[in-house]
Structures are given as structure tokens and as C-alpha cells.
Symmetry: D2
Subunit: 351 residues, 4 copies
């Protein structure tokens, strides 16, 4: 099993390399970076241990490129079973062009997430880069599209906000236990913005600071969330407000919604338990509001809730770089290639 | 002008001492602490500069107690014009007993915030400590009860969550521009929990971690917010979820509500501008979602909003130790004693 | 292979459980806690994923106690091959009493680190708890006492400061390339103080704050460092100053020393390269001053240096909970029981 | 009194504006920025309160430019008593050219700090920009050059590392109580690097991370420290290692040195007490190792020490943006213009 990683130098690319290095089914990795091609991974990323070659994972598995990052052109020669794209939105689909049809493509960007062209344009300000491929792509929310993922050749890895918001909502939406308008608030760690060097992302601008940003349907993630909720229950509406909080990793989402008249707490519990009875990475927490630390470094999404009068408060947490990006991408690979769904993926959060 | 501070060793007490030390109208301060009586302030709080005596503020103004913290009994002998209580809920009213009727009491605890006994009991699990005094107390939300504060002898300093949530809501509620059910989410820095040594407040439990807690009407602050909203507009309901974020100081509140049919963006702008045309510490930010850093160390509340379809997103930020506690307490003193409302209070946020 | 963990509820205990859960050679774990005996691990530690039982590690391996923490008395019945003690100094040796002679004991406390009774007393204010066992204990600095560890039945796991300070110093001390007095400064993340609920460890006291503490030979770790340096080179002296920095995990040590006249940069490089040619967890970084982030979550110690005039600046970083505590403890187990030294231990730092 | 601020948009410029806005002797401020000329201050810096015009300080005092930032050319027309340059090294002296001889120039950059051309070149890689002015410039370390500052027309505001390192060292150096080679370690908050948008300064690269950088005499600040120590005692040498710690503001310096034979703890105490008997902003802390939080937002430098055998450990803390930059610049203005040395400068650290 050989895996190519496009965009190896960003945070999601770096996490992907670590996960693949420790993955029992992956034998070879082709690390790609246009800006750093020719650089040795160990020179670029000091977090990688040099170690004795027999066990480092990274060095053994990147032997084909001598541990170096290569260009896309070079990567084409090393034909891979799977190509992960950790490239920016609107660049990704284009760079992936030579791999479609040859490798399974798991795209961590937004290029294949939204299937309606008008909606995509509203969200990203331009037409979808490859409208021709949209009908065949699969939405890689693992717990909800498992069968489709098994057969997918282009898998759109969901956004971090949609993943954390949808996992608690979809069971209730599908069973019709909630109604009306949902109000969703999300808190995101700063790595959600990637490794970009932007003035508002420097340490002194983000530490001891928090704020909302991009509220409502102006935010691209809202449209992705709405697309998926609508697929289960067309009567729901949702307003979304993300916030930046001074964490490196972590995402917490709180949604307040109205329960359908007559819905009991037992109905909710049963609905959740049923939806996630067999999922290794979604944990239902009954007497606890989950905290982001619980899932730091883990591929889990933990879910809790609180019911009061006719309202339900839904709480979910993920590590935005894991279940919100690279971890879910590897979970998608596991499902697609028939491996154990949990292979190479951490279950426990870091202390 | 002489001021007594009960609870000088907590965060709000320490901030009060600093503000009073620099206040142009305060000549003498009596710092009180039951646990630390007899200790010199400079030995307890290394943040206080020793400096040449002529200008330190703290040392000059605490000359009556030789710079030492004293017991409540001793404090009674130094009759003060104003007594600030920075004591915990349910302890405060009792400790203030000897000062009622003699000094103006500004209580930073919750003991006098809620006027309905049943509501108080729901929020705090016990009857109000001094129900006999509730009818005369004033709710010290400075921008909304200025006239009452001028005549008040017991001023209930509002909670931090209610202050930040109410300031953007009250203008719209009073003018009837919003309707139905409001969904309010708040992010609080950790100093909101005070200086308590609790297992879940140690550094390693809170850094790189965020979570919701005490959601809905189970949380005492919700009931305080509802009491005040109802006073302006009885048709509104509100669900509230606070979150802990790894900040020392800072509070950001996001409320999503429905606009009354026919309400235009201009109506909202005019309503806000009118409500806060003359207030030194509420800033309306028109093209900006405010950030907590903007008001760090300042007594300001900054307000912004976003309108989409028939929904309004309201954003407000305060420094929970300033406008959310000690700053507003001093603002109450300024109003009550006829000083310039801004005397001794910082306007600008720290860089 | 069965492992008992004494002190399962502290940070080092929690990290040990995670490492053992993922360890390929460990089949069963007995989690012990006097204060929490009877509690299920999943109820205590929300970071642990519930997952399908087949793969969680934790649940499978704690089947003997039904996933619950047990008392020391109960633990005695489940005879283990190895007992890790993550208990506090001065309590540890006593609680371990029933296990000596029956299991290999790896003690993460200081009780067996210092072999000279007078020195121990100077450092800890009391006589060593088990002086009778000191002659047989092994100092578990893996890279320097590997042969002894293979035969040790009581292994004193080194302190975090000594581990980080000694690894760059010992090669130069042993070869006589440095002389005179060493000045060592260390920066430690807050988890080094454990999970104690102390007033100076709460979030608001440590964030946006840094300071030196316990400087010089008054600090227990200095004496442990000196014991080990003296074993290699009795002519060296060392003054040590630790500092607290607002990190959760991470330790950086900077030592400035004098090079023996005539020592060249090549001599230093060769000395370091030789000492750590075969060690999986010590990385020599030639053109880089290592950062604590490089080793966050990894069992590595990264070493760099800078030479100027006749001085050498030595830089080393570890994760204080890994190579500085639980990771090195598992490394000791691996060596002692003849497993691959790297089994179950992460090599790469977290992004 | 009119003050011009060159470089109003960086952190030190922003702090200068706040300090001058609250300064009792400053009537008018000319804020200068080449990149933002024409922008209103309130639009640029959301931390500034709009407030009623009578009391905001900022708006009143910038009336000459209508609250807007202006170009250097425009600033020349508004002739000022004092010009603060918060511009980068090597740009500052050039931009200040039109103001020399007309206004007192207080330069926060390094352009006038080092008087020896060869040393400057070693430190900054190029010749000093204005060697002709070096003989007349004054080194603005307020506590040591007060008489010179009173007569200075070009005042070189010291670097943050030199300020924090020199204040505890100079008394002992001058009295000859220390000897030999000093080893100095410093921890700096990230704002010491300014508001530059550099890849290694983004939040995710600095939070949960610490490291040494630029050790030894390769670092420009070492040469500045050595210049000043040599001026008092030519027999001393010093090796310096700065570290970055995840703080916004704060600097802690630890120096270990050898006491001259026969020096007693009483000698040290007397030396320190005498040196700083009359200084409002240097506090001697006898039984405390100072913490950076003690001086957060204050213009103080707090000093403590520990003596062991023949070694002294010196501890000092400052807020790098205050005593380490803008605060000391205003202190220099106060001294130069005969104001109270403490005018407009905060003494107490923030809680």
C-alpha cells in the first residue's frame, strides 16, 4: 500500500505523515511539496525523530524518495494507491488532476465538499473547479457514508466545523426529533486556520484574546452543514457563529434546538445510542459535557447534551487536526481499502 | 472620601485596590481580609510597587491601617463613605451587616442581584440572605439604572455574564425590535471563577482546553439575565450556555435572536446609537466584531452585530474583572457620589 | 506480561496507562489508586475512548479489575511482572513494600534516586525511606545504565530535570572535555508539578507569568544531577536554576560550561555522536537549537550546542511527562524485560 | 508639551500612544506611520475607546491631525518638543534626520545604543547609521544616567534584555563585589519580537513551545550589555542566552556570578539598597524571587537574589513593552523635561 501526500508542509500534511508513518497497512509514502521539493523531511520538520532506521516509520516508508519531499511531477511516477491532498481550497482539485482515475483521491480541501454549483459559488466566490466530478465524489463523513466511501474514488473529507456540528445533529435530524431553527456556536483552536503567516494569527494577537468571526450564512462552513442536514431533514434551518479561542488544537460546538413536541429524554438517548452503537470514534457521554482536552490528539468526537423545557443543547468536541482533518482522512482510507477502521488512529486523548 | 474593601485578597478585591489607589477622589482605603488580617499589603501582593511613598497610592491611602489588611471588626471603627464587598455569594450580605445604613454598600456578590425570593432560591439553592433589604437595593448596571444608582444605598453590582449579555440586548428589547427566544452563548476567561484553588482550575486542566458548562436555566446567571430582560420586555425568552476558554481575563457573548418583522438594519443602528450616545464605557463598533483583547484592562463594553435574513447576531465583549466586576463597581461609586463617571477608570484596552 | 500502576490518577500515572494500553508486550494492567479505588477508569478519565472493546487497549487489558481502579491490597493479589510507582516522594517506597522481591519495581518518585543518605536528607529533609535497598537499586537513565537496568529489580526512574540536564553533559564529562563550574538553567512546563491543587498552580497564577524558583543546591534536583556527574568526573561543579514557564508539557535546559583547553568543535561533535550513535531516543541536532515542541508527546531528548571562545552552550529538550517521567519508565521496562527498547513509545513530536 | 511618535502601529508605538494619552504634561500628540498615514487611530486600533471627547486623551491630544496618523513630512510641520522613534533598527536614525536639533529625540531602536563603530557592526552587520551623532547621544538607562539624560538631545532607549540584565548587575559591578565570568539567561515574552508577521511567530508555533535562540556574543544584546558593564568594571565577562517563552509580555533574567572573596550577604544587600534607595521603578525584593506577572503593565523592574557558597544568583523581571521599551522612553522624557519621574507611568502590575 503506497500513499502520496500533497501539501506535506502544512499542519494537516504534517499530521498525515505522522499517522501514515505509524499505519500498519502503509508501506510507502511519497511526500509532496511544491515549495520544499528536494528538502529532506528531517531537515524541514524537527518534530520527526531520526532514530534507528528500522523503526522510524517515516524514513523507512519514504525510502523511494530518499526521505525527501518531491514535486507533483515526480510524485506521478511513483504510482500510489491513495493520494491525500492537504492543499488549499481552489488549488487542490487542479493539482490532483493527474491522479484522478489512477489513485483513490482523498481531498482535505473544500473543492469537492459542496455538490451544488450555486452554493459552492456563494461559499467560495467562484465556480467549483471540477463540476464534472461532483456527481461521483463521496462525502467522507465516515459514520454516515460508510457504504459510499467503500466504493468512492474521490472522497471529499469534511470540514472541521461541519464534522463537529453534524455528528450530534444528524441522528436527531434523521429521526425527526428536532424542528425549526438551530443556533450553532463553535469554538476553534488556531490551527484551524492552518500554518499561514497572517497578521492576525501571530501569537500576540491571539493569546489572551477571543472573538466571533464570519457569522451566519456568509461563512462557507454553514453552507456545508446545511447541505448535509438538508439531506436528512429538509425542514431544518441553522445559523452558525464560529469563534477563535487561544488553543492550538481543539474544537467545541454547542447547538441549541427545539425538540419536536412529545420527544422525551429517553427518545433522544435511544436515538443517539442507536446511531453510534458501532462507531469506534464517536463516544456518547451521558453525564458529562465533553471538553476539547478529552479528545486532544485523538480521532474521537465526544457528544453530550442537556435538555430543558422543549430545548436541547448539543455539545460536541473534536481535535480539529484529527477527526476534523487528517485523522478522518485516514479513517476514510481505512474504510475505502477495507482495513480495520481504527488502524493507525489514536483513540485516547493526550493528558 | 474613604472606601473599605471587604475581600481584599481575591482577584476582584485586588483590582478594586488598584483602581481606588489611582482614583482622584478617594483619600483613604481600608483593606479588609479575615484570612490575612495583620498582613501588610505589599507582603501579600507583589504586584504592588513599593515606590517612594508620595505617589504609590496604595501606601498613602492605607495609612490608617499602616498598609495592613484588617478584620471586619477593625474596619467598622474606620467609618467609610463606601464599602465594596468582594466576598463570595451567601457570605457577603452577612459580613456587610454592620455597614448597612452607615455606608453606601456596593456588593459585587450575587446576594442582592435577584429580587424575587423564589428565583433566588432556584439560582442559589437557598433563600436570599437579606430579603428585608431587597426592595431598597439598586441593580448597578450603570448604563440602565443611573438615576436609581444616584440614590441607592445598597447597590447590587451585576454579574459578569449578565453585564455582557444585557448591554447589547436591552436597547432592542426595550424598543421591541426583537422577539421570541434568544440563544446566548458566552466565553469566559478563567479569572471569572475567582482565585479558588479547585482541581479543575489548575493550569494544566485549563490550558489547551475549552468546554461548555452549566447550560440553560440551571445556571444562576441565566436567571439574573432573564429578570432584567423581563423588566424591559416580558415577551422574550432566553437560553444561555457559558463556556470556559483559556484566557486570564475576557468575556465574549454572542446572542442570536429574531428581529420583529419589518425591522430594518437602520432601525437597529439607530436604536443602539440612541441607547449609548452618552455612555463613556459602551462603544458601538459598526464594521467590526469586537474582540476581548480590545477591552483587556479597560472598563468598556464593545458591541457589534450582524444581520442576516430575519436574524440578528449580537456580539459584546468585556474584561470580566473590570466592566464585569471591579470596574463597574467603581463606576457605580462614581455615579452614586456625583463624581465624573469615568474617574479612575481606564478607557483603553491593553496592547 | 502484567503491569501494575500505583498512583493511576496523577498525570504520570495517566500517561503510563496510555502507554501500557498501546504496548505490544503488555497483556494486563492493574490500575491502583487509594483515593479512587472502585471507580471505573472511563468514569475518572474522560480522555480514554470507550470504543469497541476489541481495540481500546485500556478496557481489554484491565479486564482483571473490570476496568476499575483497585487498592494496593487488591493489587497484591494480581501478581504482576512489573510495578510502576507514580506515587509522591516519601510515600512511594513504603507503598511499594509488598512488591519488592516479587515484581520488578520501577519507581518514578525520588525515593531511590539518591544513594548517599546524607545527600538524600539534605534534598528531602528526612532520611531515605529504605536505606537497606539503596545498594541494589539501579539508576534508570536508560542511555547510561543499560547493562545495570537489564539486571535491576528496583529501578529509580530519574527526575525530569536530571534527565534533561545530564544527557548532554555526561558525554563531555566522561571524556573530560569540560571543566570547572557549570551553570545550568532549566525551563519547565507546569505539569512537572503534578496534578496538585495548589494556590500557585491555578491557571490565572501561571498564564502570562514566568519566574525562577528553588535556585542552587537548595533544590533537590541539583543534588541528583551532581551525584551523576560526579560518577563520571569528580572535578566538576554545577549551579542550577529551574524556572516555571506557561507550558503544559515541555522542558528546556541550557548549560554553559568551559571547554578544556585545546578542545575543538570537532572533538565535541565526535564525543556526542559516539555517545549517542545507537540510542533511539537521543537525537543530536547539529544546526538547530532544539525546541520543546519538537519532542512534545515523544520520548526523545534532542540535543544541540553552540561554542564560542572557550565556552560551550548545551541545549536539551524533553517532554517532562515522557522522557522526563512515564516514557522513560516504559523504556526502562523494555530494557529490563528484553523487549525492543522502543516498543510502545512514540518517537515523533506532536505537530 | 507636544510629542511625536514615529512608528505608531507597532506594539511599542501603540503603548507609547496610550501612555502619552494619559500623561498629565503632554497636551498634543502627532502619530506618525508611513504605511498607515491617513488612517484614523480609532479605525486602526480597536483597543482605543471612543468615549466622550472630553476625556479620551487620545482624541483630544491628536486634534492637530484630526485623530489621523500622518507621514513624516507632515509631522515635520507640527514641530514637537519630543520625538519618540519606535521604528526598526537601521531605519530609525534615517527617518529621525529632520528632527535632530529641533526636538529631543528618544530613539527606541538600537541605532544609538552602541558607541563603538566596530562593535555596532559586529552586532548589526553594518556601520552605525549616524556615527557623527554617537558622541553626543545619551544612554537612557534612567537609574544610571539621570544627569546625562537631563541634558541629552538624543537619548538611546536601552534594549529590553540590557535593561533587565543591567539593573541588578551594575551596582555589584560598580562596587566590585562580583568578579570573573557572568552567565546570564533570559526569558522573553513574544511581544519582544514586535508585531512582525513571521512564520515562527504565529500562535501555533509559539504556544506550548519554548527554546533558546541566538546564544552568546553572536546576539546583539550581549554586546550592548557588555558595553555598559565594562563602563563600570572592565574585569567582567558575560555570556548570554535568551529564550522565547509563550507569554505576551514579560521578561525574566537570571544571572549567576562569583562573589569577590570576603563579600558577605550584608554587603550585597547594602549595595543594592544604596543603589536603588531613591528610584521609583526599581524594587528590591528581599524574600522573594520576582515573577514577571508582578510587573505586567508596570514600569517597574523588580530584583531579587540568592547567595550560595561563593555564588550569587540575580533575578530581575520587567514588562518588555514598559520598562523594556515604551515605559522607559516616557521615563526618559520625564527626566529630560524636568517632570516628576513617575508622571503618567503605572507603578502596579496587573492582577
Amino acid at each position: 500500500m503506497k500513499a502520496t501526500v500533497l501539501g506535506s508542509t502544512g499542519y494537516t500534511g504534517m499530521v498525515l505523515l505522522r499517522l501514515l508513518a505509524g499505519h500498519p497497512e502503509v508501506d510507502a509514502i511519497i511526500p509532496v511539496s511544491s515549495s520544499r521539493a528536494g528538502n529532506h523531511l528531517l531537515d524541514f520538520d524537527a518534530g520527526l525523530g531520526k532514530g534507528p532506521s528500522r523503526y522510524t516509520g517515516i524514513l523507512e516508508k519514504t525510502a523511494e524518495t530518499n526521505g525527501k519531499m518531491v514535486t507533483v511531477e515526480e510524485a506521478e511516477k511513483h504510482s500510489s494507491d491513495v493520494v491525500f491532498s492537504a492543499l488549499p481550497h481552489l488549488a487542490s482539485a487542479e493539482v490532483c488532476r493527474p491522479f484522478f482515475g489512477k489513485s483513490v483521491v482523498i481531498d482535505l480541501s473544500a473543492d469537492f465538499r459542496i455538490t451544488d454549483s450555486g452554493t459552492f459559488e456563494k461559499a467560495y466566490g467562484t465556480v467549483p473547479p471540477r463540476p464534472d466530478l461532483l456527481k461521483d465524489r463521496v462525502y467522507g463523513l465516515c459514520e454516515w457514508y460508510k457504504e459510499e466511501i467503500k466504493r468512492g474514488d474521490i472522497i471529499a473529507n469534511p470540514g472541521c466545523y461541519p464534522t463537529a456540528a453534524l455528528l450530534p445533529l444528524l441522528p436527531l435530524a434523521e429521526k425527526g426529533l428536532i424542528s425549526g431553527t438551530l443556533i450553532t456556536n463553535a469554538l476553534s483552536g488556531i490551527s484551524g486556520a492552518g500554518k499561514k503567516t497572517k497578521p492576525n494569527l501571530i501569537f500576540c494577537e491571539r493569546t489572551e484574546n477571543t472573538c466571533a468571526y464570519a457569522p451566519g450564512k456568509t461563512h462557507r462552513h454553514t453552507l456545508e452543514i446545511l447541505q448535509e442536514i438538508e439531506a436528512k431533514n429538509s425542514s431544518l434551518d441553522l445559523f452558525f457563529t464560529p469563534h477563535l479561542v487561544p488553543l492550538k488544537r481543539g474544537m467545541a460546538v454547542t447547538t441549541v434546538g427545539e425538540l419536536k413536541p412529545g420527544t422525551t429524554p429517553e427518545d433522544v438517548e435511544k436515538c443517539m445510542d442507536t446511531a453510534y452503537a458501532e462507531t469506534p470514534f464517536v463516544d456518547i457521554r451521558k453525564n458529562r459535557i465533553p471538553e476539547t482536552r478529552d479528545v486532544w490528539g485523538s480521532n474521537r468526537c465526544d457528544i453530550g447534551w442537556h435538555i430543558e423545557e422543549n430545548r436541547i443543547f448539543l455539545f460536541s468536541v473534536i481535535d480539529n487536526l484529527m477527526k476534523g482533518a487528517s485523522g478522518q482522512a485516514v479513517q476514510n482510507m481505512n474504510i475505502r481499502f477495507g482495513f480495520d477502521e481504527t488502524a493507525g488512529l489514536p483513540l485516547h486523548g493526550k493528558v
